[in-house]
Symmetry: C2
DNA sequence: CACGCCTTGGCAATCGATTACACGGATGGT
DNA sequence: ACCATCCGTGTAATCGATTGCCAAGGCGTG
């Protein structure tokens, strides 16, 4: 098994371990002949180095940790892909963890990442309050960037979407389509984006004179969207529109509508949030808010790289602008 | 920053580092009073240990690496979640990498994981031939389990689905529905599952007397499914059924059908493979093959744990049985 | 009372790579 | 011809935790 060490290489090449290290890492120049000898010896032996030992000595791992509430949610997988891509170009690896929307598990993941000496952390925190302690602790240990959601009172960078603007786009679009009453389906989680979306919904519906019929809170899942819509259907006359805090919920809503014989958009308009790939494939295709995921990911990595540098900058918050993608769920029925 | 070491704790508690290590890890008993003192000192200082140093000394990281072709594909995310869950119960962490369906990137990931001294690797290899070298090398370094797909000639465990049985289920269902001609849309990748699915399609259509009209190869994506279906539509009379090698392709096919005014299932039947969550939400809902992902994940972790133990067992191959989920894309139209 | 076992804690080696420091030889300038 | 550099290389300390070995003290037994 992989037990060939730098010492073995040094012996075979007839040089010291220091020279081998320098030859292979290029930290300092070695003579061409020695370089050749060492490289060949390493190849012959199948030397692959011991990243652990290297990390211990250099006290950096060239690895950043990422913690997301769910890797099954396509929004987060897109974010993860973006971050991984951006990191790769900086020569770093990504260590991915899922907190399963559980603050305790999240705290455990953070401890684990810190113990493993990752160079920095990108996290989308689960809960506005119950995530705070672990997050504040981790922020004291190493550079940390929050993405999408943020926990107030933690002294770290954040990059995400402008939720207020997003709901302004949605509500204006609905109002312009003649909607006069609406329900909102979201999650019980109290975190920044969830709360800002409710707040934005409330504010902008008020501004446009749309009556708020219901605000149903559950979780970010297809199942919850389905259940919430079933409740709305059972409760009596439907609002003109159902606004969902993410696309998974909206997909569940559409499914429940189909099952209950409610026509979308004829009987009710439905909107989502995130523009996951499946939002365009539903029946009907979903009007939703597109998040600039790649930009968010890139910016997060940029901020993290900056924080890994020498000087400490004050925490940055950047809210990127979303855009509205109008599809059949709020327009004329294309599938008829 | 996190620079409190075991030495600091030892000093504050007035004992040796050896005692601190033993007190905190429980490797050997310490007296109750010392345990108390040490625990308090560690808490006071916020000591969190240095996993890197520990890993170097113990030469294990309690971490396993996982490499998948894509984390955007819901099938793999489900697999990843299953593996993570199973590992967590064994007290291990998951280090997740994406190979982006690129054998070179895959090789790089494998090298990186080996250098980081993960205890074992779970991988769904990209390519039946171009993945072999890196996989064989890694298998020589540490325990490795292949999932879903496998590369022949690598001496490792494998767990996946019975692809032949899966296509038997699909083709029998289609034949029983009166289909007499069919096309197959898959990926150009030459790996076990891709090839076994084509082989199964060919074999079972022949057995049931279904004419094979086309076999289109591209990649596992919605975009390719869409494009392939456009080609079929443009090429002339459609076959009775279109069988897809995964659900993403099938979703793309459905989208292309909708765009081209081809009615599913009235004009053509469509089937997928994997039963991702979005397969039930498409228009129409997709008939597909359900993979026992959780069982695959659990079995993979079980095999890995076994391989981490003392004795070497011969490589195991286990093909788990899939099941057919029949929905509207091959049945009577429910959405009308 | 004497002897040996068992428990508990410390000393120091160890894991494998990196790097500060030192040294010898070659080079170039005056 | 002599001295100052500079380049390439080796020696050994270092990163932080774990653990083999040993010693001291407590206890029970003959």
């Amino acid at each position: 098994m992989g037990r060939v060490t730098i010492r073995d290489v040094a012996e075979r090449a007839g040089v010291s371990t220091a020279t081998v290290s320098r030859a292979l890492s290029g930290a300092r120049p070695v003579s061409p002949s020695v370089l050749e000898t060492v490289t060949r010896a390493a190849d012959d032996l199948g030397y692959s180095g011991n990243g652990i030992a290297s990390a211990l000595r250099r006290s950096r791992t060239d690895t950043v940790g990422m913690v997301v509430p769910s890797i099954a949610n396509p929004f987060f997988t897109a974010l993860v892909e973006g971050v991984e891509h951006a990191l790769q170009q900086a020569g770093r690896q990504l260590f991915l963890c899922s907190s399963r929307s559980d603050p305790d598990l999240e705290a455990q993941r953070l401890r684990s990442l810190v113990a493993r000496q990752v160079d920095g952390i990108v996290i989308s925190p689960v809960h506005g309050i119950r995530s705070r302690e672990a997050l504040a602790w981790a922020t004291g240990q190493l550079p940390l960037v929050q993405v999408d959601r943020y926990v107030a009172g933690v002294d770290s960078d954040w990059v995400g979407v402008d939720d207020d603007l997003a709901l302004r786009l949605v509500v204006d679009h609905l109002a312009d389509s003649g909607v006069t009453s609406a329900a909102f389906i979201s999650s019980t989680l109290t975190n920044s984006s969830t709360e800002l979306r409710v707040a934005g919904f409330t504010e902008h519906t008020a501004r446009r004179g749309i009556a708020v019929r219901d605000v149903l809170l559950g979780e970010y899942s297809i199942a919850w969207g389905r259940e919430a819509m079933q409740r709305l259907v059972a409760a009596g006359p439907l609002p003109d529109a159902v606004v969902c805090a993410d696309d998974l919920i909206a997909l569940g809503v559409l499914q429940a509508c189909a099952a209950a014989g409610v026509a979308v958009p004829a009987d009710v308009l439905v909107t989502g949030f995130d523009d996951i790939p499946y939002a365009a494939l539903s029946d009907p295709p979903l009007t939703t808010v597109r998040q600039p995921q790649d930009d968010i990911a890139e910016e997060a990595v940029r901020l993290l790289s900056a924080a890994l540098g020498p000087h400490r900058a004050p925490p940055a918050r950047s809210a990127l602008a979303p855009s509205l993608v109008v599809r059949a769920s709020t327009g004329v029925s294309a599938s008829g």
